[in-house]
């Protein structure tokens, strides 16, 4: 119990501590090593948590509570199957960013922001108290926003403001209204924000569905689902690459969906499925089509990300074990793929000063390793056999298969389009004689340097992770265990017929 509490607290508090302490001009040189050390510690701690979870609790929830209750808020943290996988992956990604990002971009200020963001993200993952979770959630976009302001990217900053508001306000409202509702009902509940307690009470004393709608909107904005996706691309293009990567190190929207919306509002979830599924498919297709039209690699990657979010949404909307576990695994895989590709693209940017494919070409001649890395990650991204993407896409399709064959086919078509998009980018940047593809002055590169050792090993590690996940996916399926309870709550009414499920669910929340 005590170990759990310390472990889970250290995971989010350690980066926060380093971010706050590593101040002052004389420390500037030491910031990067200190940050890498901290990130490494967090990775090790979360790996320890993963192993502990697996052996001690078999991926059931392990939780720790720190006693004082102030205004109904209690410091309650926990790790379950989902977070036990998400924590090491997210921490590992941030470590990878700190190691591999170009040093020119990685100034001490940015490093501190990265650590701050890491702390807030991991805080969201471990919180089991709704109010604390919301606090972390709202704060997690702020470092990026301030950084954009400071760099004079006012357009992108304004966009972030809109998004930050659109994803935070519903959550804040959610917590506020929950408080009001509890006060009105007059029931003496000691900890009204405790997620575990809320999930248990949901059976006897369900919350109104519209309240869950707020959390769902917040999550959808954060995922970047159509038509709430506008912020992803400008941010990918304009934001400081390492910090943006950090902000995307955890599939946070997806996480909120499975942590709050599904267990607390199963009926809402069932009712919203007829909207979520088409929305997911639309997002997937829209992202893939727009990615095809892009000339800038970072913009292309942004649309690719949007397209993948559509897959996730479609997967959870399937509301069965393969669909949901496929979506969760796909969320993790997408984050890894995106990080790898974005680091390589950042490397191109740092070397050439542009990421416009019309001005690039033939880089493979001097940078074969970079080309190979890009290609392998791209293949993993579109579910090439043997990688994690194959497993997750296979599961998503299997999940959709029984009741939504058309949706399964749409997912397949979109995957094909995504493959074309990424290969097109690879071909334009790395192959050819350079400059065969049209407009703009070509950036000539007789001495384009190949990957540095630290970049190379990070790329290898990320691809290795995807490969290991693809060949031995069984441990990763642990992510599902926490969601399964919530899922059973939904699946009970009638698994065979989704229409029936919706109707069966309606009378339940009518009163």
């Amino acid at each position: 119990m005590q170990t759990d509490l310390w472990l889970m607290t250290l995971i989010w508090a350690l980066p926060l501590g380093t971010a706050l302490l590593a101040r002052g001009r004389w420390l500037d040189r030491a910031v990067r090593p200190a940050a890498i050390g901290t990130a490494l510690m967090v990775v090790l701690l979360s790996l320890w948590a993963f192993v502990r979870e697996g052996s001690d609790h078999a991926f059931a929830r392990s939780e720790a509570v720190w006693a004082p209750v102030v205004l109904g808020i209690r410091y309650h943290v926990g790790i379950d199957g989902l977070t036990s996988v998400l924590l090491p992956v997210s921490a590992g990604i941030i470590l990878a960013v700190l190691i591999a990002a170009p040093r020119r971009v990685l100034k001490s200020g940015v490093i501190r922001q990265i650590l701050l963001t890491e702390s807030l993200l991991l805080g969201v993952l471990v919180s089991l108290d709704l109010s604390i979770l919301t606090l972390f959630w709202v704060a997690s976009l702020l470092p990026l926003l301030f950084d954009l302001r400071r760099r004079g990217e006012y357009g992108a900053a304004r966009m972030m403001m809109i998004v930050g508001t659109a994803s935070s306000l519903p959550m804040v409202l959610f917590v506020g209204l929950l408080t009001v509702l509890r006060a009105k009902s007059g029931a003496a509940v000691q900890t009204p924000y405790d997620l575990v307690a809320l999930a248990q009470r949901q059976l006897t004393d369900p919350l109104p569905s519209w309240l869950g709608g707020l959390a769902m909107v917040g999550a959808l904005v954060r995922m970047g689902c159509f038509p709430l996706h506008f912020w992803i691309v400008p941010l990918s293009e304009r934001g400081p690459a390492p910090l943006v990567l950090t902000a995307f190190a955890t599939p946070l929207g997806m996480f909120l969906m499975t942590r709050v919306t599904m267990p607390l509002f199963p009926e809402l979830f069932t009712a919203a499925m007829p909207i979520l599924l088409p929305l997911g498919l639309l997002t997937a297709t829209y992202g893939a089509i727009l990615a095809m039209a892009q000339y800038d690699l970072r913009r292309m990657l942004g649309y690719f990300w949007i397209s993948q979010q559509g897959f996730l949404l479609a997967g959870i909307a399937a509301m069965n074990a393969p669909g949901v576990s496929g979506a969760l695994i796909h969320a993790i895989g997408t984050v890894v793929v995106r990080t790898g590709l974005a680091l390589l693209i950042g490397g191109i940017d740092a070397r050439m000063g542009t990421t416009d494919v019309r001005r690039l070409g033939g880089l493979v001649r001097t940078a074969p390793r970079m080309a190979t890395g890009f290609l392998l990650l791209a293949m993993a991204a579109v579910g090439s056999p043997g990688t994690l993407g194959f497993v997750s896409e296979d599961l998503i399709v299997q999940g959709l298969l029984d009741h939504h064959s058309i949706a399964a086919v749409t997912v397949l078509v979109t995957t094909a389009l995504n493959g074309i998009v990424l290969f097109l980018a690879f071909q334009r940047v790395f192959l050819g004689d350079g400059g065969t593809f049209g407009a703009g002055p070509l950036v000539s590169s007789p001495q384009f340097p190949d990957l540095l050792p630290r970049e190379r090993w990070v790329a290898v590690a990320l691809f290795g992770l995807l490969l290991a996940g693809g060949l031995l996916p069984a441990p990763l399926l642990a992510v599902r265990t926490s969601v399964v309870d919530a899922l059973h709550g939904i699946e009970m009414p009638g698994l065979a017929d989704p229409q029936h499920e919706v109707h069966a669910a309606e009378p339940a929340h009518a009163p």
Binding site: V105, V110, R150, R151, G152, E153, Y154, G155, A156, R158, M159, I162, F230, V233, P234, R238, P240, I289, L290, M292, A293, Q294, N320, A321, P322, S325, G326, G362, V364, R365, L375, M379, S384, P385, G386, F390, V391, D394, L395, V397, Q398, L401, S405, V409, L412, A416, L417, G419, I420, F423, L424, Q427, L431, G432, D433, T436, R456, P473, A474, L477
Partner: protein, 449 residues
């Protein structure tokens, strides 16, 4: 003795050996700047020999089973809910024969390329890709379910694309590679959809289960639908009209890979897919009719285009397409045994012919010398335009323009789609600019820290 699990495991490792070889070469490349050619060749030869051993062991096991199909279940790769992806192999006449041919041809290619590509910058890359391709082909051929076949199919597709674009610095091969990729990926949707439909219909994609369940469930349009999906996939891989334009363009790759991919193996995989699914197609005369028509039309058109090709490799490529079209016809007529025989003979012959194409000029000169000058007028025949009928001229023009299929696809499908995507993108950019207050981003202002 022959049934011992050790032997079964060895037989099942057929696709595993070349995969290990490819990983080994990849690891060597990562650790050293450039591994020596002899190391790479040694790895390739040994893994391919082991592969051949595994395949032959599988053949012996199949024979010892009285030539009955063997469904070898190994283990679950993963499982979620009711769904599990199993690793299982299926050995029957077609898979054993095609796997043996594949193992032999790839081993021969490895020998051939050792000298042919000596000191070529992409030597190691070629070997890594060829081993990956071998793993893909053997998984495709030996895999016991459509899921595994699909995995192998994808690997074959990716490696083909990369080998077509092997000479990366020339724009031609690179553009050809893109065309191959687009064709493959779009046609692969057919196979995916069929697998999905099979799951839904018979709740399994394992061949053994499907073939066992088929006789009881022949009703409905399902076999037709699945058959058509498989046909689309097979058309892409086997370069049938109207998606066959990639094959003649794929010839700029190294001769060794042209031979093993487009002469010997890759191009026949579509036929193999249909052969594999023959019991399924037997239930759907409609799908078989489509296979027959596509094959027949392709055979005629490709034969005509091949006649007017000006270079040796293109001519051979069209001849290949034409023969594969005939195999489609045989499958359409429900003659799988004949198609299998045709496939085997054709892949061996064509493989050799492709390997000889770089020496075509020399061969021709030798022939001419042997005929002591008298051969010229017999082999080269000039036809005056005035002497041809208008129908002949029309046909000639069509053939040399390759029946304008690619131009039509570009004009009516590819370009409108890209234009629509660009238009959508502009809309979105305008909206984003409006949302961000039309602020021009401060370029390269740098970090203010």
């Amino acid at each position: 003795m022959i049934q011992s699990p050790l032997i079964w495991t060895f037989a099942a490792l057929g696709p595993g050996w070349p995969a290990m070889g490819a990983v080994l070469i990849g690891a060597l490349t990562l650790l050293q700047q450039r591994p020596r050619e002899s190391q790479v060749v040694a790895i390739a030869q040994w893994t391919l020999l082991l592969t051949l051993g595994s395949v032959l062991t599988g053949a012996v096991l199949w024979l010892s089973h009285g030539q009955q199909p063997v469904d070898l279940r190994l283990f679950d790769i993963y499982r979620s809910g009711d769904y599990a992806l199993e690793l299982r192999l299926y050995l029957d006449l077609s898979s054993v024969v095609v796997a043996t041919v594949a193992a032999v041809l790839i081993l021969a290619t490895s020998r051939f390329a050792q000298r042919y590509l000596h000191r070529e910058p992409g030597f190691n890359r070629f070997y890594a890709l060829m081993l990956t391709f071998a793993a893909g082909v053997l998984l495709l051929v030996l895999g016991g379910s459509y899921d595994l076949l699909l995995a192998g199919w994808e690997v074959v597709g990716w490696t083909s694309v990369l080998l077509v674009g092997f000479f990366q610095e020339r724009p031609g091969p690179v553009r050809a590679a893109l065309r191959v990729l687009v064709t493959y990926r779009l046609c692969d949707i057919g196979l995916l959809v069929s697998a999905v439909a099979l799951h839904r219909w018979l709740h399994s994609t394992a061949f053994a289960d499907i073939f066992a369940h088929l006789p009881q469930s022949t009703h409905g349009a399902m076999p037709m639908f699945i058959g058509l999906g498989l046909l689309v996939a097979a058309m892409g891989k086997s370069a049938q009209i109207p998606v066959g334009g990639w094959l003649p363009r794929a010839m700029e790759g190294p001769t060794a890979s042209s031979a093993v991919f487009y002469g010997g193996l890759s191009v026949h995989m579509g036929v193999y897919l249909l052969l594999r699914s023959a019991p399924l197609l037997a239930h759907s005369p409609g799908a078989r009719l489509c296979v027959l028509v596509i094959g027949a039309v392709t055979a005629v058109m490709a034969a005509l285009s091949g006649q007017v090709s000006a270079d040796a490799k293109s001519a051979v490529a069209y001849a290949t397409i034409s023969q594969v079209g005939l195999m489609f016809v045989e499958i359409g007529l429900n003659l799988p045994r004949l198609a299998l025989l045709h496939l085997t003979a054709h892949s061996l012959l064509r493989y050799y012919q492709f390997l000889r194409t770089p020496s075509a000029l020399q061969d021709a000169l030798q022939r001419r010398r042997a005929m002591a000058g008298g051969g010229d007028s017999a082999s080269v025949r000039a036809v005056k335009v005035g002497q041809t009928s208008s129908f002949q001229r029309f046909l000639y023009r069509l053939a040399i323009e390759r029946f304008a299929i690619e131009a039509a696809l570009d004009r009516w499908i590819a370009r409108p789609m890209l234009a629509a995507a660009r238009a959508l993108g502009r809309r979105e950019d305008a909206l984003v600019a409006w949302l961000s207050g039309n602020q021009q981003p401060a370029k390269d202002k740098g970090d203010a820290d």
